[in-house]
């Protein structure tokens, strides 16, 4: 299975769950009805850990076997997948806080927070453990540095934007002033 197919399959699984959760929007007067919803939402979220563990294991194996032609792509796909997995967190926390404020107890709320921490840890560890480049890529790029094949950022970005360097600098000065 290619990286794209593996990531797409995992993302479809996560996105479908996200959409289901996001579609349910009871009114304030139905707050009590939120409790089973929140519990179901948490149980669905807890499943993400298993999905992501499988995805991480597969990514690490591919990288170890040297079967990934573009390791930056793999790293990028991994980041996208974790963002997808963690997307519901803010919404869930808001819901749990509203329920707690109204005196409702939601089972598994602590496990939810633990699962968020576990997923974030898994993401951070993967970012550190997935290789950044093949040995050949490192050698090629270090050689390019020695040969002086790199261009000043101003000139490079001016070219990308299709303007001269002075125009680019003026544009960036305006952009910085507006930040």
């Amino acid at each position: 299975m290619s990286i794209e197919m593996m990531m797409d399959a995992a993302e479809r699984q996560l996105t479908a769950a996200n959409e289901t959760l996001e579609a349910w929007k009871p009114t304030d007067s139905e707050l009590a009805g939120f409790v089973p919803y929140a519990e179901n939402a948490i149980l669905l979220f807890l499943d993400r850990q298993a999905v992501m563990e499988r995805a991480v294991e597969r990514m690490q194996k591919l990288a170890q076997l040297g079967q990934v032609p573009d390791l930056l792509q793999l790293r990028s796909e991994a980041s996208r997948l974790f963002r997808c997995a963690l997307r519901p967190v803010a919404g869930h926390r808001k819901l749990l806080a509203a329920l707690a404020g109204a005196g409702f107890v939601v089972g598994e709320a602590e496990r939810f927070e633990q699962s968020v921490r576990d997923l974030e840890r898994m993401r951070d560890e993967l970012r550190k453990s997935l290789p950044l480049a093949t040995c050949e890529e490192f050698q090629t790029e270090l050689s390019a540095i020695e040969k002086g094949e790199f261009q000043d950022a101003d000139a490079a970005f001016a070219e990308i934007a299709g303007v001269d360097v002075e125009t680019w600098r003026q544009r960036i000065a305006k952009s910085q002033a507006g930040l």
């Binding site: 930056l72 790293r75 997307r87 453990s129 290789p131 480049a133 990308i160 960036i172």
Partner: protein, 97 residues
């Protein structure tokens, strides 16, 4: 220490091919030339086994398209002069909520 940022032709071709909105292109430039050099420790990571290369990963929110983020990761190197950052290659993805 003030770092100067240099870009490889491959990275330049990649960035051009991404057809970024102007505001996002400006932010990519500012991240690589201002934000990263100002705080190397928090903006670059060195994955295990990577003796030379470092990763600069960042996300930029699109202010023109609601719920859209732009995710970037660049492979960068320190120069021997310890004053230059070399940007060799990048990856880019659009993330929609």
């Amino acid at each position: 220490m003030g770092f100067k940022t240099k870009i490889h032709n491959l990275a330049k071709i990649q960035i051009r091919a991404w057809h970024l909105p102007d505001a996002i292109l400006d932010e990519v430039y500012l991240h690589l030339t201002v934000v990263v050099p100002a705080d190397i420790e928090h903006n670059l990571i060195r994955p295990q086994g990577s003796i030379h290369g470092l990763s600069a990963e960042f996300v930029r929110r699109d202010h023109d398209v609601m719920g859209r983020d732009h995710l970037f990761e660049f492979r960068v190197y320190f120069g021997d002069d310890e004053q230059t950052l070399y940007v060799a290659k990048g990856r880019y993805q659009i993330l929609d909520d």
